[in-house]
């Protein structure tokens, strides 16, 4: 008897929850409540604390629906002008471009944003804005590898790296963006040669940047390509972690830089609130390089030039980024996937 009551209770409470959800959904268009709804693919780095800071300052409540990027895009498309989302937050420039290109995002005129975010970290039409920068470069263990031998992505095609590389599979969006940048820099044919060169070296495919770094540290491979902040996290936990990061292609076009960013949806019901949130996130509080800021909490580089990065990553040294415009990432992403399939990249 008691058991059946215990089973019933959550169901009852749930009805209240779903009713609330239903009402929000049904009334979302008309209500002028101080709220902003976000579809977000960023689910790490204490985002809840950041939103709480924004709410404390503005009184605007932040509601977040997390999801895989493509799932959220699919939903934005299906919901069209009736979407409840006011903003779309993605951890990949390609995803933002895809959303903008499908007309899911709108242009925003804001002096604050133009001031906080350099031009090359904004969409030319101001449909989306970068909030943090992540660099995808080459990791190695000093002593085992001479950094001069791995100074470029292209150098990893050399036969001497056979059986010594750890790479992330093609299903991962970071890999896709990196290959897209190769297409943008070299054209499709040359990019395919480079990828084939990696494949010929029979890399170990590991679907986790952290694990790639740990495998390098353990001696499972000698070099790998990862985002810088994963190394930052490992160093934060263990300052003696033996792996170092090298900024690739510094003598050429620059290292591959991606961003996480945000845009206001075309059908945003709370457009002004969404803009306020983006302005706040790009301002000094939101950009803080320590644990309280969006870039800092995940050891990424801020976009706001007035803010210093977290000391752990500042120690990685200065870098020059591939000047590829943010919009290009998305444009070549599908081509990158097909290219990797042709080349036999996992």
């Amino acid at each position: 008897m008691n058991r059946s009551i215990a089973y019933l209770r959550p169901a009852c409470r749930y009805r209240a929850v779903s009713l609330a959800v239903f009402l929000t959904v049904a009334c979302g268009g008309a209500a002028d409540s101080p709220v902003v709804n976000i579809y977000s693919t960023r689910h790490y780095g204490a985002m809840e604390l950041m939103y709480a800071g924004f709410t404390a300052e503005t009184g605007i409540e932040v509601r977040v629906s997390h999801g895989n990027m493509h799932a959220l895009l699919e939903r934005l498309r299906a919901e069209g002008e009736h979407t409840v989302a006011d903003a779309f937050l993605a951890v990949d420039a390609g995803g933002l471009w895809l959303a903008a290109n499908d007309g899911l995002l709108q242009s925003v005129e804001s002096a604050v944003l133009e001031q906080n975010i350099p031009e090359n970290l904004r969409d030319p039409e101001n449909r989306f804005f970068a909030l943090s920068q992540r660099v995808r470069s080459i990791a190695y263990v000093p002593g085992r590898v001479d950094p001069s031998e791995i100074s470029t992505y292209e150098a990893l095609t050399d036969r001497k790296w056979r059986g010594r590389l750890c790479l992330r599979p093609s299903t991962n969006v970071y890999t896709q963006s990196l290959v897209a940048s190769l297409i943008a820099a070299h054209g499709e044919a040359r990019a395919e040669e480079i990828v084939r060169g990696w494949v010929a070296n029979e890399p170990e495919y590991i679907d986790s940047d952290t694990r790639i770094l740990e495998t390098i540290a353990a001696g499972g491979c000698d070099a790998g390509i990862t985002n810088h902040y994963y190394l930052g996290r490992l160093l934060k936990a263990n300052p003696d972690f033996p792996v170092k990061m090298l900024w690739a292609n510094q003598d050429g076009r620059g290292v591959h830089r991606n961003v996480s960013g945000i845009g206001v949806t075309a059908a945003a019901a709370h457009r002004e609130n969404a803009i306020k949130l983006i302005e706040w996130l790009s301002g000094p509080a939101g950009q803080a390089g320590d644990d309280s800021g969006l870039p800092g909490s995940n050891l990424e580089f801020p976009v706001n030039p007035d803010v210093d990065p977290h000391p752990i990553i500042a120690a990685f040294g200065p870098w020059t980024a591939d000047p590829m415009p943010l919009a290009e990432y998305g444009r070549y992403q599908a081509d990158a996937v097909k290219l990797m399939e042709r080349a036999g990249y996992r």
């Binding site: 169901a11 749930y14 629906s65 999801g67």
Partner: protein
Amino acid sequence: MELSSSLSTVRARRATAARRLLWSTLPVMVAAMVVVPMVLLVARLLHPTGEVWAQLWGTILPEMIRNTLLLMLGVAVITLALGSGLAWLVTAYRFPGSRIFDWALILPLAVPTYVMGFVYMATFDFAGPVQTTLRAWFGADIALPNIRSGGGAILVMGLTLYPYVYFLARAAFREQSSSTFDAARAMGYTRLQTFFRLVLPLARPSLVAGVTLALLEAMTDFATVRFFNFRTMSEGIVHVWQGMMNRDAAIELSALFLFFALTIVIVERLLRGRARYYQPGRRTRQITRVTLVGWRKWAATATCTAIFGAAFLLPAARLVSWTVGDLSNVATANVLKTVYLGYVVRTFALAATAAVIAVLIALILAQGTRMNTGRFGRAATRLATMGYALPGAVIAAGVLITVAIIDRTVMSASESLFGINPGLLLTGSIVGLLYAYVVRFMAVAYNSVESSMVKVTPNMEEAARTLGATPGRVMWRVHLPLIKVGMAAGAALVFVDVMKELPATILLAPFGMETLSMWTYMLAAESLWESAALPSLTIVIVGLIPVMLLMRVGRMATPGGNQ
């Protein structure tokens, strides 16, 4: 007097006709509800996308098909061997711990394959503690086979999915009477020979059903195989959809997938044969347990311990230690405190609601199929339970299309009738997600309800009718009490499945309805294993409750088992 009596009888004839009509159309309507999303998906096949398709054939599709077949073969062999072997061990023998293993061996059912996947990955890959320790002891050249491979994926799936076979085989072995077993022994067969010659063939329908469940789960999984770099077709669907941004090609791939799934389901029916409609036999004595002695008893204990350790203790221990580690970190602990309870409540509520709906619909289907033996009704029911063979992502896509059509219809109707635009009522709401769950897990609920419905013989129904009970009263007094255990079992299974479900949840969960499985997957995909441990552990622990319930039900459903 005569007039009133003839009036009442006319009314009765009408009521009977109406009842018959209701019961013959209701299952078809329910089945249609379940089938429509699939039909809408298949309808998209009418515009094939040649280019992507050609690229797929030229590149990864052959490998995906080969891997899918390999996965199915491997999982079938492992689950069959582990499931039936362990079930026989605990049913026929007594050895140290046998009573505990009897129920403990089903516990891995509560561990989702993707959780098991990341735990094994983190434990056994090159940088993991096992290989690191081995290298420390034996030098840098020592290496285990690469876990990040098809073999690793098959091993992990075999270890998490064997309980399906174990559970059904165990119940089947217990239903077998000792007299047939003893007869074989009297004819000179050893216990082991009897097991292979008699016990296994007799349990074939249950074994086939168990392996089928395991295979369908393995086939529809996309997260685990992705962890292991093992591309299967269901991984391919997600990949084509999300990586190549081609939903139509993904849907075409789903159709190919559907062919595989259909093959499995048809093979299952063929293998089950006529044994499908077994009559619950008279109470019989169970096969007598033999007490093992000497090295045999320790070998039995060691086997069970090894499997239980690998399939449950290891992941549980790692999850616990990660959770403890994560909670000791002040920053993450604060975040957890604010969000954890919400995840638990939401997941629970969602799973319970879906379970109740699925069981109620299953009840309608099962009763409808009984009352109306037409071929159409049966076909409808079979279609309605096909969702189990489809990946969650495919179902989610179908539901998305269906719900959008309903919404648009409602909107235009409301605008033209009342001049009010209600907005999207269902899209992005909880309804779509529940809809997808019900479609996906209808078979689970239906099979439980239907198999318990067998206990209600048509004669019982008829006896009740001739004793003056209306059909409603018959349902309430005769059916419900007899099938409530089956309903509870069905609900429990759906509950666990919903809790573990990933792709459909990711695609359809509305605002603020994130579940534990989403949380787990997103963190695990980022290899934030420590943070993924708490939600995983919660899924496992909550999943244990229905699994235990299932064990009790299984015990009760076994003749003589509840003494």
